[in-house]
Symmetry: C2
Subunit: 284 residues, 2 copies
């Protein structure tokens, strides 16, 4: 059975999504829990697991920076699948306490942001604490005294694992709240990305930011060949302020000819370019 690294502890949205992927694909893999996203990805490079399954973007909160940065700075990771997973945030506590009794709310920073308007409206005076994961938040609440008024924003699964009661369901500010997860594997040496199959291609490149119009020229290579870019994201190159790495999600055309040509052309216009893989997108 393959080993797949995910962000733990048990009950995170990552675990719930991985279990869902398992069901959809009808493949069995053993989940290996890591404390941080980058540790799960490093374990792939070190061959301690066969794959990692990590969040890369949320529809409300945007990119998961640590995932993008780790992918950008690795030389051996490729993406083998994407899962689009709807997020359900629950507010849970030890007992069915009144909203007015909630004094401290614990969660991961992403769900806190996803529920920002809800929290401002319903809990304007509660102290909001960001901890390492939603599952950790549920644990903290489970260990608290009822009179402390602790509550967690977490998956229903994390709450149930900790015997918490539901104070409110689906508290995210927007009901189309989805998270994209990537299954990441280690690439073989000299592996040909263009032999992979799927509907999406993820490439990363650094463009000379001091050259005006450089990004425009790069996008032109896609537009000219009708290669549809569904997403562009920038991250600091970590060299100096004002230098960026760009992430492009590209749609794969039927014979990959135009995709291949445009990626080659962009590569010539970039300081460096990495092709992170062609992969299928699965919707949960």
């Amino acid at each position: 059975m393959e080993k797949m690294g995910i962000l733990g502890p048990r009950g995170t949205h990552s675990e719930a999504a991985a279990v869902k992927l398992n069901e959809i694909l009808n493949e069995k893999f053993e989940l290996v829990i890591f404390k941080e996203i980058f540790e799960a990805l490093n374990a792939v490079e070190e061959k301690k697991v066969d794959a990692a399954f990590v969040p890369v973007e949320n529809s409300l909160e945007g990119s998961i920076n640590i995932t993008l940065d780790t992918l950008a700075h690795s030389d051996s990771l490729i993406v083998s699948r994407e899962l689009v997973y709807p997020v359900h945030n629950f507010l849970m506590a030890r007992e069915f306490i009144n909203f007015l009794s909630v004094k401290k709310i614990f969660s991961h920073s992403q769900p806190i942001s996803q529920c920002r308007n809800y929290l401002q409206k319903n809990f304007p005076t509660a102290e909001i604490n960001s901890v390492s994961s939603t599952a950790r938040a549920a644990e903290i609440v489970a260990k608290s005294e009822i009179e402390e008024g602790f509550a967690a924003i977490c998956s229903e699964r994390a709450g149930n694992l900790n015997n918490l009661k539901t104070l409110a369901k689906e508290i995210q500010d927007n009901n189309s709240n989805c998270t994209r997860f990537l299954e990441v594997r280690c690439r073989q040496k000299n592996f040909d990305i263009f032999k992979m199959n799927g509907e999406k291609n993820l490439i990363i490149c650094q463009i000379d930011g001091s050259k005006p119009g450089a990004l425009y020229e790069v996008l032109g290579e896609f537009t000219r060949r009708n290669v549809n870019m569904t997403r562009i994201e920038s991250r600091p190159a970590r060299t100096k302020l004002g230098e960026y790495i760009f992430f492009f999600d590209l749609e794969v055309d039927s014979d990959k000819k135009f995709l291949f040509e445009s990626v080659e052309a962009v590569s010539r216009k970039s300081i460096w370019l990495k092709n992170l893989g062609i992969f299928p997108v699965i919707r949960a």
Copy 2:
């Protein structure tokens, strides 16, 4: 004396940067402390302060999402100045304890990320805790028992305010680590942005993501007129996955003619466009 809202408590990098701005401009303003960045920005809209001074981007960690999102979703905020401020992260504790005695490290999530490699190398087993600000981290450490082995990543100022001792200086992974801060004010009705002076223009727009090549066409409006774009950033439109808002930093040309024309043209190609202001960039 003008009131300026910043992220508190006393001793955050935001406070240190605001004090620096004060020195450079030789203007006096009263600092008003807020618990969250969005609260400082909301206070500007509600006329409780004259301006807010908030971080918008770090050279290692990228955008401060809450700042971008609050600017994007407000109808009255404009940017009046930018400060580029070098960040100095210190590791501080109650006493000069040995690295091996450090069991828990507290800081804000941004400095934790800025020092990611340093922490992995020097404190692989320490528990890393993210709290609401670096100043709060210093407070927690100041209140701890020495044998608990707590340390904070914070500004030297925050450490000194809490009588902490320096275990290590300048622990950020990259010495060109800078943070960009924006001074944000409320715009008058019918105020003409193009009457503002400065070297930079920040615009925000939503482009129809379902139209292939839409972003390319928008960038073409700048490139065609030699308007230099120094930064592009995308954030989720918070409507559904795959829809984005774009932030463009543009260089201002001498008579603003080409800037004005390109912004007008982009406005016609966008679902909506907001001009956040023309402003000077000050280097600390």
